[in-house]
Symmetry: C2
Subunit: 748 residues, 2 copies
């Protein structure tokens, strides 16, 4: 059987294996340890559906520091070091910091029907993960389980041994903390249903909503039905209820079953080895749409056809192609690009339907995106999208504006058309401004500007900028105002105000440009000359005391900062590096403080506020080699071809975007300023395939003589002409055909 | 406002109030105490929906012997002595012995939104209950709540005071022990959903199924939404879930919400007193059908129009009209007839759809009945239906045959197309035979006969007659065979075999007639000459010891009998009264034993096995006055115009049928034998309106000189000719125009 498949695949793909393609370097295991929170499951670019192994529910008795979903804050459906498989989940998030989705589990078993995951779960071996494909071998059952996916539908297939075999669809278990499901068999081979999800990051539980699905098996089961875990009855009647609290099996039941914890089963008795395929379509609109998504995306296509189509789609999406470097470096690079193309993902169904935000209406759009982790992504992610995937980036901006039109506010941390109000600041304004300023202007800038001003200027009941009245009045958020992380939130508002100022300037709105430009520097009021750090302050102007600059690292709660400490925030506002240099007391002091952060291990590669720090030496003439050195060593240390090969949460592609830039030799140093700063690339040749509509040259080549020793820039030439700056504007980049880095092993 | 309604009602009904009509005697409170298990809610004849006040959920702390649903075995949605209203339920059972249905609660409140029933419940006063109408005044809120109903849809209306008002639809609470619900707002005035019900009498929980509904308010609410009681999360994450275990309010949410415990709310702020109407349609097939039921049965009709139509329907259904007797006697009589017309009720939707039994298919029928409590109803209920409602009775028989075709077996205790396997015996065969032998032959007798034989002769895996192999082999079920109540179950099988013998004779199947006729007397083997009682026996023929004839009364578990003791079963098999007389040792001994049962208070008026005992004196020449005396005094003692006016569970109309017969002066003494035995009627004139298709005379008049003293029969004449027997065949009855009872105060 296996031989036939391999043969079929070879015939199908023909010469594809003749040479290793970009897609073949993708290693979905990267980020599946060390809290990277990626998963190795099958997914298509920006897919709404993914089929991930789920291995975070197990018996923790006697396990030290278990990576189990309910034993700690754990946001992954899969952790590489875990070893207990309890099913394939069909909707998942990648690289986020809170547990959510991870539902609609499909699990094959053999023998008697067992539906308790602690009992039916299996160890496994021989995992394989590629772009659009995952497989593993369940040792308890002798079953090979495989998965592949299109954007809204996927197939899993199971190689059952002879004898009793079961396929479970468990709606009781999930990464989400929500409960509630519906299941209805519509035929002996098809079940439809829904599962409640939501309350991302323990916020907005009242917005929990259903994900709908349709699941079909390709072989009629001997028995099928729904199981239900009922609540345990506590009344005196319990003594007559011999079934009290026990799982019940509704064999052959074909009306809806609703409740907190349900599952469906297909039970077989094979007289020889058999392969069963499970096709699942999902939707956030309706069961009918889930069914249409499945029909339109998969229909009668075979598993191999689906995988081939998704593999091709991934290969085509890898718009930066590299030559040179080690195999591991290529793997890190292409996998990072892959991880950057998972979120934001599509929310609209094949027919364009999507649930609008707050309106209860169904909207129509072919590119309605979701999963906007904007506090993270405004810093570098969208800049990469604007460069390599401008149509997607425009779709994201248009989605943000639609969310504004629907809900009255721009998004902050949007998930499936709900605003989860996770993290702080006003990041959407920055993303929109940045996109426009990079020449992607095909959206309604007037509405966008209106939305930005509403977020900035609404003094009361402002869900985007709480405390903004004090912010405008004092120039900072005080520790007395009740706003979380008043120092860092002040900085976030400053960053947004800088963006608004830039767009105001562009639109010729001089007064606004001046007002927001001035306000974007208001963080100066929090600068403490003693410590050369930003420091929490009272509304009356006195410093908050005692002040411990170290407090707040490693996600510790902290009076001044969100997810970070004073060291990790002080250099955040790159739009004002000249100002920061001045505050610090000149370039030398600036460099010393920056060095101190790295040398004292206060630099946190795993979180966003200090993500641009290694590039800041480029602001110090003659010290640019430190950027090259730091970036080089950070990549070596934190970005590797192994499950722990991300520094921490991928943050919906932000860490991945960071390493993509770092390996290309450029970084979009200031959000909402169309400029990149430069460092030494990692490859001999990087070809960026650009969309001619926005980048008339159609491609950009970055060349270098990179090697493990050649990590320092000697000379930069653009189309043969020396480029003396360590910065390059987006317009210069657009015009360039080839940027050549002459590297050496000697600091310049 | 009220005045206008009264005026409108007077205009509408015109002369209806000129004289008190039969319908006006119906008192739905009868049976709502003393475990009668009826409810006073609004219902149409054989309605699938009823709107009952629900008052069996309250705080029992400090309440001695509370009649609270979870504190004991309680099968009522309403108990007259309770005083805490927590809503109107929209599907209910009447007079049954197990808690089931009692769901889809509608509750009006004022002030802040409160959805916990222990907090929102209200005392009440001024209850009014009529056929098709119920109202009460909720003293906590100053709200008058009213309800009226058609067969599959109903209206409740609420007279709100000025200020904040709420209308709740609580799917978390219910009489059933099942959980699980779905709710979806489809517009600000309409919500659709489903609620799991089932596991009647703690049986077959795996067959639990949804009841679907659509609910519409006539005034758009200011706020509306769904509440959800989530499960309490026990993981370490609970500390971040500030909402853990707390009820959440999904304001304005318009997708499905699914889970164990949900509700919907409509929130108003009235600037003056306002009336809000809630229209609810239900279905056991689908939400679409529930909506169609609502549209077709109610649509835009007003509350008063709906009530008028249902009142008229009830009046027309009272096919026995009485003259004379006291007001209380008329009330007892008409209310009993009313209670006999609640179950079996319709299961099919307005469009004919109904869920088939076990097939998962949707069937079509205009008279698909459900709620067959056949262990009870085979004894007298269906005989009354055959006489007064022959088309309904035929519909019930056809339904039973359809259930056989669908599931492979005749029903035993059917509820909403599920077989609950409550009680014992093979009662459907008896009902079908009885119907056929009374001349209602318009059904497929061949299939019926096949079904009867299958139930009787299938020796293994026979869900209808467990132990039947031993029964045929030994003539009785032994205490060793594992069948519950082996003595009484033997008797039940004998009763069924008598019925099969009768129908076999009718169909000319002589061998079957002989075989089943002989077997129908096999209970003789359990007759113990010492005690003159039936006694449990071992398979080896020895008596089970020790034997306590008194054990088993009051539903006590007992080795030989189901719901009864030896006294209450010994005379059950009326098809063999001659045999019983012989076993007892002659008429004198028979009379002594029967007298002993009554005198020692072993006679149980509240349960079925001994329900015919008072009529058995008619088998003893010269002792018929004892029947007249016993029936008279039992009616006086147990059947009264008050909430406790039924002896116990109405048993889906069986107790009511008993008193209807008793007051008419005749009783269908032997199931499957078309014969009645006679006693003194209670009224001067009883006019039975008969269906000319089956009863060519079209009516039968029963006349008498009944009075509180004239309780003994002096002479019976039929159409002027003296009738010397205390029995009358169904054929004689059919031919008769007038039966006249000459009564006296002297025993004959």
């Amino acid at each position: 059987m296996k031989r036939l498949i391999i043969l079929a695949m070879s015939l199908l793909w023909g010469g594809m294996y003749a040479q290793k393609q970009a897609v073949d370097y993708i290693n979905p295991f990267i980020g599946t340890s060390n809290f990277g929170a990626t998963h190795p499951g099958a997914i298509a670019p920006r897919g709404m559906l993914s089929i991930s192994p789920f291995n975070v529910a197990f018996d923790t008795k006697g396990v030290e520091a278990p990576l189990e979903k309910d034993s700690r804050w754990l946001s992954n459906p899969y952790v590489n070091e875990n070893k207990f498989f309890t099913g394939f989940t069909h909707v998942n998030m990648s690289g986020v910091g809170c547990p959510e989705l991870g539902v609609i589990l499909a699990m094959p078993t053999t023998g008697a029907l067992e539906v308790e995951h602690l009992k039916y779960g299996s160890p496994y071996k021989d995992e394989v993960a590629k772009a659009g494909y995952y497989s593993t071998f369940l040792t308890k059952y002798g079953i090979k389980a495989e998965a592949t996916a299109r954007q809204r539908a996927g197939i899993s297939r199971y190689h059952f041994p002879k004898g009793e075999g079961n396929l479970l669809i468990n709606l009781g278990l999930g990464l989400t903390n929500e409960q509630g499901a519906m299941l209805k068999f519509v035929s002996p081979t098809e079940v439809e249903g829904m599962r409640m999800v939501g309350s991302f990051c323990y916020n907005s539980p009242e917005l929990a909503y259903p994900v709908y699905f349709v699941a079909k098996v390709n072989k009629p089961a001997k028995h099928y039905g729904v199981w239900q875990h009922p609540a345990t009855y506590e009344g005196v009647e319990a003594k007559w209820m011999t079934y009290n609290g026990k799982t019940r099996f509704k064999e052959g039941f074909m009306r809806e079953v609703v409740g907190d914890s349900l599952g469906a089963y297909f039970r077989y008795n094979f007289d020889k080895e058999e392969v069963v395929e499970l096709r699942v379509g999902v939707s956030y609109v309706s069961i009918a749409n889930a069914r249409e998504n499945l029909e339109k995306e998969i229909g009668n296509k075979t598993f191999d056809e689906v995988y081939a189509a998704t593999r091709t789609a991934w290969n085509e999406q890898l718009k930066a192609q590299v030559t040179g470097g080690t195999e591991d470096e290529k793997t890190v690079f292409y996998t990072a690009l892959y991880h950057a193309l998972i979120h934001p993902n599509l929310l609209n169904d094949h027919n364009g339907d999507y649930p609008e935000s707050t309106t209860n209406k169904i909207g129509k759009n072919t590119k309605r995106f979701t999963v906007f982790s904007l506090w993270d992504t405004y810093r570098n992610y969208h800049q990469l999208m604007s460069l390599l995937y401008p149509e997607d980036q425009l779709g994201m901006v248009r989605t943000m504006l639609d969310i504004y039109k629907e809900s009255g506010w721009l998004p902050k941390w949007e998930l499936n058309s709900t605003e989860t109000f996770t993290m702080v600041g006003d990041p959407a304004s920055i993303v929109i401004a940045d996109t426009y300023l990079r020449g992607l202007t095909d959206f309604d800038i007037n509405t966008a500007y209106e939305a930005m001003l509403k977020g900035a200027n609404t003094l009361k009941n402002n869900p985007i900028r709480p405390g903004v009245e004090e912010y405008w009045r004092l120039g900072y958020l005080s520790v007395d105002g009740g706003v979380r992380g008043p120092v860092s939130t002040t900085q976030e508002y400053n960053a947004a105000d800088f963006a608004i100022a830039q767009i105001a300037k562009k639109l010729g709105k001089k007064a606004d440009a001046a007002k927001f430009g001035k306000q974007s520097l208001s963080y100066h009021k929090l600068f403490d000359k003693q410590t050369k750090l930003l420091r929490p302050k009272h509304a009356n102007g006195s410093w908050y005391a005692p002040f411990d600059p170290n407090s707040g690292a490693n996600f510790e709660e902290n009076v001044g900062y969100i997810e970070g400490n004073a060291w990790q925030y002080v250099f955040m506002l790159t739009h004002d590096m000249k100002g920061t240099i001045k505050l610090m007391g000149g370039e030398k002091a600036f460099e010393q403080q920056l060095d101190h952060i790295f040398n004292s291990k206060q630099y946190d590669m795993a979180n966003e506020p200090d993500i641009a720090y290694p590039y800041l030496y480029n602001y110090l003439k003659g010290r640019e080699w430190k950027t090259q050195q730091r970036v080089h060593s950070l990549i070596n240390e934190y970005f590797q071809n192994k499950p722990a090969g991300l520094p921490g949460n991928d943050d919906t592609g932000v860490m991945s975007a960071w390493v993509v830039y770092g390996m290309m030799g450029l970084y979009p140093i200031t959000p909402a300023e169309p400029i990149y700063t430069l460092t030494a690339p990692r490859f001999e040749k990087i070809v960026l395939q650009l969309d001619k509509k926005y980048y008339p040259n159609g491609q950009l080549i970055i060349e270098s003589n990179a090697s493990p020793e050649n990590i320092y820039i000697k000379k930069i030439t653009i189309d043969g002409k020396e480029h003396k700056s360590y910065f390059i504007t987006h317009d210069e980049l657009k015009k360039a055909h080839t940027i050549r880095f002459e590297l050496s092993n000697i600091k310049k």
